[in-house]
């Protein structure tokens, strides 16, 4: 079996792994690097549970071939907190009850972070469209949207 040696950065750590032919970045993160925060809900890029940042851009890691990560900086849900200090999104999701079963939460948090990194003051509609690729079947999205709005307020206040 052919394997490709891949070097990249994941959540600030230099890592390397051997990628078998055809495996996705999601498979590599979960099976080779032991980072199981990103989830596989569909494997076809339709649910967003596997969302990660690649060089700051939001991606479904199930649609990225593992060797494409060569040299990239990857951020997963495990990497969005600042040490033991939760990211404001993580904190507002907890306080705002924005999760129930929690399977979509890692992807939603990463997608919301990508939004707020690019747009610190999004409208409700902008948040809804930014998260439209992240399926949640439990919450009806209401508390997710409100928690992103609250995190945006906190982040703006923190950088003022």
């Amino acid at each position: 079996m052919n394997r490709t040696h891949v070097n990249c950065t994941v959540n600030g750590d230099d890592v390397d792994f051997l990628a078998a032919d055809g495996i996705s970045l999601l498979d590599a993160l979960r099976d080779e690097l032991g980072l199981t925060g990103a989830k596989e809900g569909c494997g076809t890029g339709d649910c967003g549970a596997c969302s990660v940042l690649i060089d700051g851009k939001l991606n479904c890691s199930c649609l990225v071939l593992a060797p494409e990560a060569e040299g990239a900086e990857i951020v997963t849900v495990e990497g969005i907190a600042d040490g033991d200090r939760l990211h404001p999104l993580q904190q507002t999701f907890l306080e705002g009850a924005a999760l129930q079963c929690g399977i979509c939460t890692p992807g939603v948090l990463v997608a919301a972070k990508a939004l707020l990194d690019a747009n610190p003051d999004p409208t409700e509609t902008e948040i809804r469209y930014a998260l439209a690729g992240n399926l949640c079947r439990c919450t009806g999205y209401d508390k997710i949207i409100r928690s992103v709005q609250e995190a945006a307020v906190q982040l703006r206040e923190a950088t003022r």
Partner: protein, 740 residues
Amino acid sequence: MTATENRPTYKWVGTRPIRHDGYDKVTGKARFAADLDLPGQLRAVYVRSPHAHARIMSIDTEAAEAMPGVKAVVTGADFPDLGVADPEYDVSVNVMARDTVYYHGHAVAAVAATSRELAAEAAAAIVVEYEELPAVFTIDEAMAEGAPLVNENNYTKFIKADEPSNLSTITNLERGEVDGAFAAADLVIEREFTTSAVHQGYIEPHACVVDTGADGKASVWCSSQGHFRVRSSTAAVLGWDVSRVKVTPAEIGGGFGGKTTIYIEPIAARLSEMAGRPVKIVMTRDEVFRATGPAPASKVRVRVGATNDGELTALEAWMAYNVGAFGNVAGMVGAMSVASYKFPNLKLEAYSVLTNLPKSAAYRSPSAPHAAFAIESVVDEIAQKLDIDPIELRLKNAAVEGDLTAMGMPHPRIGFVECLEAVRESEHYGSPVPAGAGRGIAAGFWFNIGEQSSATVHVNEDGTATVITGSPDIGGSRASMALMAAEELGLDVHSITPLVADTESVGFTDTTEGSRTTFATGMAVVHACRELIDDMRSRAATILSVDVDEVVWVDGAAVAEGNDPVPLASIAAQAKRTGGPLTASASLNAGGAGPSFAVHCCDLSIDEETGHTTVLRYTAAQDAGTAIHPSYVEGQLQGGSVQGIGWALNEEYIFNDDGSVDNPSFLDYRIPVASDLPMIETIIVEVPNPSHPYGVRGVGETGIVPPMATIANAISRAAGIRMTALPMSPPHVLRALNER
């Protein structure tokens, strides 16, 4: 927003602490079943039927077994024949076909290999020869005279049935005298409604890891709403005693009823037994759509009679549920779910109908949404015809305590009227309907259930407590358990650790379903806490050298007049010298489940060019009894509403002529996304259930019952079209607009 009837004020119950399992879920640490890997683990992949109904003539696994990395192959021959009379027979055949496949996607064989890729290659090398049999897919086809038999092992239940049939259940419920009532009615409206099959749509596919040891015992880690049911069903399919199976529940990534049964665990257990290594199975999304779930499609004819002043005098309904290839009581439950209005004269005829489609499974208030879509639509049409406010018409006819459900059971104290009044008084209902939009109202009912639960509570030596139950937490129930224990023990809720234990570490507990967990398992937690409190009072009596009868428990401390209070932490620290560890367990079969009613209100607009419906505003009111953690009660109302909105507007299984699912992906089976929706406003009504220590009713189910009719009723008012088929997707709405 919460509308609260007079109830006691609590210190913890009704507050909104951060859920205990939340930290792991926002940091990616929470362990779901697919996140677990064991040393030496194999991966298994299925072979599934390409026919909707066929005899299996032969299965050749020889080539597959010789392929690299392949460690075990199973077919139906590797599982015992339980006999048709066994209650697990259908499950055993559904998880692995024997001599016949009953639907497209039915499991035929499975391969365990050292990687998923090698297992898939080997599965593709298995050769199955079929002889096709006639198949039927719709209610009409299956009920037609001379229709081919879907499943030769199905006999109609609850009646004397000598011949196999395509009907699983036939239910007739009647009271009063409908013919006379219709003859005397001022207004009679009759309509026929159809709904498509829909999937529960949990984002986490079914997953398990099973390690069958040399001692013959299987350890199972899996995603399930009920790991005790996984234990019993898995053991049954394997022909084992339940003591050979231990099930540890992983975090569950959504279930909504769809994970109350099993699919993969006995297959993994047998493969593991044969290979001598752990076996992991993770379904693909395609498999989830093709071989699990769905909620039945339905056809419901409803006739309602009313007087000119809006009294609903008669209801007649014919209901049929398409339950797929195996027997199911969907029709019976659908008839039983008719319970919202007094209807002095009523006649219901309900059928569970087999077809060569995937075996249907429970989905949030199973069977009730189909019936409510029909009845609430016709009730609304009566309000329109009589020019009566739809809430006033419902208030005039709403069931109250003592009124009978369709099956003849008197309602206990219920909060239907209170829910209707809460919506009537809401800012939403009082606001003008936006220009060009329509506003709809509809109601829903679900029984809620009790069943068996167990809980163990430890007071730890540092004065904290651990609450252990057997109920998988699918919506925040651990937080509810901790809140009730905090209230009882007088501890801070964050000094309590709520856990869900495996099948060998806590007493038997029925599945998380029917909105029973906060009610029944919560009751077990309360009982265990009260036993612990009695024990701690006794310990304090020893410490204080007073009679135990002089000691009362007040806000986390034992209090005896004339003495300083002895706080829980002090009693815990002295446990060794006063009698040993502080622990108590309670198990019960909970009676007195409190039905939950909901009333929804929706404003929407329709794009006349495309038929696309935009939900502008949505309010859900529901009687929670008592909201233990209001945020997660709101979450249940919102989640149920949005699942219902998806069911109403978009979601449907599309089957090809050969019975295969044409849209087995989240791209083509489109559940609501964030940009489809407005905020979902909630009104928690609290009419406490007198049969629960804190008045809990349970809130998970009912929220999905009203949305379909709520939206249909709003569309009717927005565009003057009466939609009678789900989904009300743009092409269907456009057709109705064009035919208007």
